[in-house]
């Protein structure tokens, strides 16, 4: 019996259409739109102006605080304007528009770095570089990585967990990256272990990616400190807390962080970005994006420059299919539906999912039949039906008592509800209000 997390969970159809497709590198787009709020925390501050010439990898927006991140120019070119563009949040946000210089060769060079195994930097330098090079969690949450690595003195760390779970249906970005850049990722893991002063690392991979499990077992055969854990396929195993529970059987305390149980979790994409930053001085300016959907002609995985409009990617896979009703930035369980295809790829875009009529529309909402399935599947042990009722009726204090804030918004409850009730919509709303109430009290 394979390991998995302690509570709840669902198993939606996997639909990994692109798991056998190599990651293709796209040519630099003509124009990139780089939002300044690509990470959780304070947006970066723009330090370029209109008509400035920028080089590839140049810092164009500076970190606005501790929980923030630098943003680098993904292309060499000219800043044409500082504009407001709808991003995946659904609102217009400040972003830097850069026209790519078609003559500048660096834009089109295919850089394939040789594998470099020796780690020259000291732990403090590693963290500094990760912070400078704008690396954030690439699993979707986009939490600035240097914050995670800044372990407080009183916390004792003993294990680094690498998240190669990719439990979201459809997405294969991490899977492909693991297969193609396995050795680099192993070096990246060692870098992180050095930075964190831990001597144990475990790579968690769901068993539907058997080839990746085998590959990493082979690669780490001589590394005693690095283990591979094959996990049962269950959503939301990619959630930090669920992954720790699955691999180490430790539960992160309520309102706590993985640090509290001596663990730091990083996504494989992040690990690879860290490898490139430390060993090859490359800031985070591109990432792997899965462009997928059942009706697409040629769903694929791409290396995409940050700031590329999504429509360029859709062109690349054969254009928008007839009858498209929904475009999702991210996976189908936690991704955000976006308003149009001008939305740029950001550091957190792990996939673009194109959905047609059948899957896009929600069913008719009916009465709750109190079947308790939402309670069964909730990985956090909450009662979604109750939380929904409480936030619908405005009883936010009661909802807070019922631990509404611990909800990880995985959407399992809404997924299973036989009456199509918008459980997560209301819970998210309740969380929002509770957060506001808490901050207004302080």
């Amino acid at each position: 019996m394979l390991k998995t997390f302690s509570k709840g969970g669902i198993h939606p159809p996997e639909n990994k259409l692109t798991s056998a497709k190599d990651i293709k590198r796209l040519p630099a787009p003509k124009v990139v739109y780089v939002p300044i709020a690509q990470h959780i925390g304070i947006p970066a501050e723009i330090i370029v102006d209109r008509k400035d010439k920028v080089e590839i990898g140049q810092v164009i927006a500076k970190s606005g605080g501790f929980v923030s991140s630098n943003i680098h120019s993904p292309v060499a070119g000219t800043v044409t304007k500082l504009d407001m563009i709808i991003d995946s949040s659904g609102y217009k946000k400040q972003c830097i528009v850069i026209r790519t210089d078609a003559k500048n060769e660096t834009n089109f060079q295919e850089i394939d770095y040789p594998l470099k195994k020796e780690i020259d930097l000291e732990p403090a330098e590693i963290v500094k570089r990760i912070s400078d090079f704008g690396i954030v969690g690439l699993g979707g949450a986009t939490f600035p990585s240097h914050v995670k690595l800044n372990v407080k003195e009183d916390k004792k760390m003993d294990c680094l967990i690498i998240n190669g779970v990719e439990c979201e249906p459809y997405l294969t970005a991490d899977h492909r990256l693991m297969l193609e850049k396995g050795e680099e990722i192993v070096v990246g893991i060692k870098i992180l272990m050095k930075a964190l002063h831990v001597n144990k690392a475990i790579i968690g991979i769901e068993d539907n990616k058997h080839d990746a499990v085998e590959l990493f077992k082979r690669l780490t055969a001589n590394e005693k400190q690095i283990q591979v854990a094959a996990l049962q396929v269950k959503y939301p195993q990619g959630g930090e807390k669920q992954l720790i529970s699955a691999i180490l059987d430790r539960e992160v305390p309520k309102n706590g962080l993985p640090m509290d149980v001596g663990v730091v979790v990083n996504n494989v994409g992040t690990v690879f970005a860290i490898y490139e930053a430390i060993q090859h001085n490359k800031p985070l300016i591109e990432r792997v994006v899965t462009v997928t959907g059942k009706k697409l002609k040629n769903p694929s995985n791409f290396w995409v420059k940050i700031g590329t409009p999504i429509k360029d990617l859709i062109e690349e896979v054969g254009g928008m299919p007839e009858g498209t009703r929904k475009i999702i930035n991210g996976g189908p369980m936690m991704g955000k539906a976006i308003k149009n295809t001008d939305v740029p790829v950001t550091k957190g875009t792990s996939g673009i999912l194109i959905v047609d009529e059948d899957e896009a529309c929600r069913g008719e909402v009916k009465n709750c039949i109190r079947c308790g399935e939402c309670v069964n599947v909730c990985p956090m042990g909450l009662e979604p039906h109750l939380l929904m009722n409480l936030s619908e009726k405005g009883m936010y204090e009661k909802a807070a008592q019922e631990d509404i804030m611990t909800c990880i918004e995985c959407g399992s409850c809404s997924y299973v509800c036989p009456s199509n009730r918008p459980l997560l919509d209301y819970i998210r709303f309740g969380k929002n209000i509770t957060k506001q109430l808490a901050s207004s009290k302080n």
């Binding site: 159809p13 430790r250 475009i327 189908p332 896009a360 918004e409 509800c417």
Partner: protein, 336 residues
Amino acid sequence: MDSPQIVISASPHLHSDRTSKKIMYDVVIALVPAFLVSLYVFGFNALITTSIAIVSCLLFEFLIQKYLMKSEVTITDGSALLTGILLAFNVPAGLPIWMIIVGSLAAIGIAKLSFGGLGFNVFNPALVGRVFLLVCFPVQMTLWPLAVVNNTSIADAVSGATTLGIIKEGLQFGQTMGELSSQIPSNMNMLLGITGGSLGEMSAIALLLGGLYLMIRKVISWHIPITILLTMAVMTGVFWTIDPEHYANPIIHLLSGGAILGAFYMATDMVTSPMTKKGMVIFAIGIGLITVIIRFYGAYPEGISFAILIMNAFVPLINSYFKPRRFGSKIKAKIM
């Protein structure tokens, strides 16, 4: 933009294919074997009783929703159909038609729609219908037609008695279990359903078959039915070991009356049972205990319908006291 507009909704963007309708129809399918047995045992009467109950339940739901509540009519969601079937299963075959209709009105009108419809009812509608009839028309409701195996014609209602009725009456008149054993049907007959009783409650084997189907389809979990039966077995077992002359053995108790029908189909009704597994177990233990107490000391020979209704009233309380274990509440945080 092109004419079918882009849809925006919050995550998740996927939905499982489980719907409340499918759940209801799964329960209906699970009840088919038991119905076939009663058709075999009671003949045409079973068919008439069941169809009258179904039709009147659907009709009352339609009329009340359309003309009284002026709300959306939801007769296609399968819940009224299920209530009708379960009501029919809980009354004697051959009950006067007008009584069935009154029972349906009590089930749908009083127990279900006056609380706000599907999902809001506190008590199991079919059981409210049955208990309503039992209290109003005790004679007719305990006039059990004899098994008329292979007789497809409408049999005259001939008064028989249920296993539990025989035991109760006998013990009251000072007879011992030993003396009564010749009057009650054999275990095998009770398992198969060749016995007196309500329309759908006699055949333990058919009901168990349906219950198994529900568990495989994950409509119900094992917690409620198994706990009820276990509680009943343990409690009757204790009494029986102490005084076998005045208490029937656990096998008779489990196979007779509505124990299995109640445990698998009535108590597991999602709306009126607790949400968490812990709560379900508490709920089921309560039902088991109350059933046995009524069987031993109550005025009625059978008590599972009352037991379920009583425990239904405790469900909100159980729900608020027995919460699922929150993730992260594990105290140990071992760091090596």
